[in-house]
Symmetry: C2
Subunit: 229 residues, 2 copies
């Protein structure tokens, strides 16, 4: 489920316990099991994970550095609530970073990768539920970056996706799936440019895709549950 996340987060397989706990918590946050503002008790996680609190604490530091949790002295960890402005800027960051990652990726994509991307897009076009759509869409985009050899860049992209995951879900729920065809059209244009190995065109389509999403998001302030702090 979160395979891509860790792969990009840890250069190679670093299966230390703290990382396994971090992966576990990351998955819990991404799946919505732990929502913004919600507190994370170390003991709970330790117990559920069958380990002591120590690796949990290390994991929380990792997630904090990734921006997935906030810490306050003696008050513990919680998932931060983003404001509309935060989210908007994150999308602006994505709009500049992801095209770069794409350009780095395209020359290294194999025919197999491209076929896999096509297959993913077909599954996205099949009318699925919101949660499945979110998972597939994430998988699709992150897969377009599999050719990007620079860990630091892939990592940044994955983290940006991670920290907005909850709001993407909330947005899908309030906006309905009415505009799914737009997404599909944009994905198809992107895929086409990628198959032609036309980085410039692909960058253009991707940037437009992200920009449009940001614009639509900004029209749905209710995603932030009232509190825009």
């Amino acid at each position: 489920m979160t395979t891509e996340a860790e792969q990009a987060a840890n250069g190679s397989r670093n299966h230390a316990a703290s990382h396994r706990v971090a992966d576990y918590l990351r998955a819990a946050i991404l799946s919505g099991e732990i929502g913004p503002g919600e507190r994370i008790r170390q003991e709970d996680v330790a117990e559920r994970f069958g380990a002591s609190r120590l690796p949990v604490r290390e994991a929380l530091r990792i997630l904090e550095a990734e921006g997935l949790t906030e810490h306050e002295q003696h008050k513990g960890a919680r998932v931060p609530s983003l404001s509309m402005r935060d989210l908007s800027v994150i999308y602006q960051i994505r709009e500049r970073l992801e095209p770069l990652a794409l350009t780095e990726s395209i020359p290294n994509l194999t025919q197999h990768d491209l076929r896999e991307l096509d297959r993913l897009q077909q599954r996205i076009e099949a009318d699925t539920g919101i949660d499945e759509f979110l998972a597939l869409d994430r998988e699709f985009h992150l897969m377009t970056y599999t050719g990007c050899q620079v860990d630091q860049l892939s990592m940044m992209v994955v983290r940006l996706w991670n920290s907005t995951q909850h709001y993407r879900r909330a947005f899908m729920k309030v906006s309905g799936s009415g505009r799914r065809w737009v997404i599909n059209a944009e994905h198809r244009l992107l895929l086409d440019a990628m198959e032609r190995r036309d980085s410039v065109d692909a960058e253009r389509h991707l940037a437009g895709h992200i920009r449009r999403t940001r614009t639509e998001l900004s029209r749905h302030p209710e995603v932030f549950g009232g509190a825009t702090s």
Copy 2:
């Protein structure tokens, strides 16, 4: 010295011991005291810091997530060595991210900030040693982003500066200070655009400044001490 680094790294003052240790280690790495490939022993740090190994371990996880250290199971932490390609891509990332941070910053800069920047640039133009130049240049650029309200963005920028600090120093040492006047001219053009609150022009100058630096860097492979892994 590393004030900006922490300020951006921790949204607010999080003076937990693990963060103080992380700041300490970050400063040691940025100052060149701990160089790429060098190992960091937990006990040493703990002793030097007057604390137990536990906060040190948490600090190392933080630095790992920031990309300042690498970890291997049962082998400990070391500062990663970057390849020419890594460095080049980081500069490409900076070329896209920092103009965005600048645009976010410019409207919020006070007259006082601008005066301070001018003063900094004057100090840069005074012929200083390499280490002082590096510190001032860093301070100058990061100060241009003080108006950027989005923590996540400022944080990313600071981390990019951090992970390339050592190679910037090495580059200055091999390339000599012959081309300092180019930097000064670019800084002046950037400052002028900022004073006119012309984000577009400022972005253009900044991107050019970073691109030129990347190009010059790529002409000095000896910065990587032979090993380009």
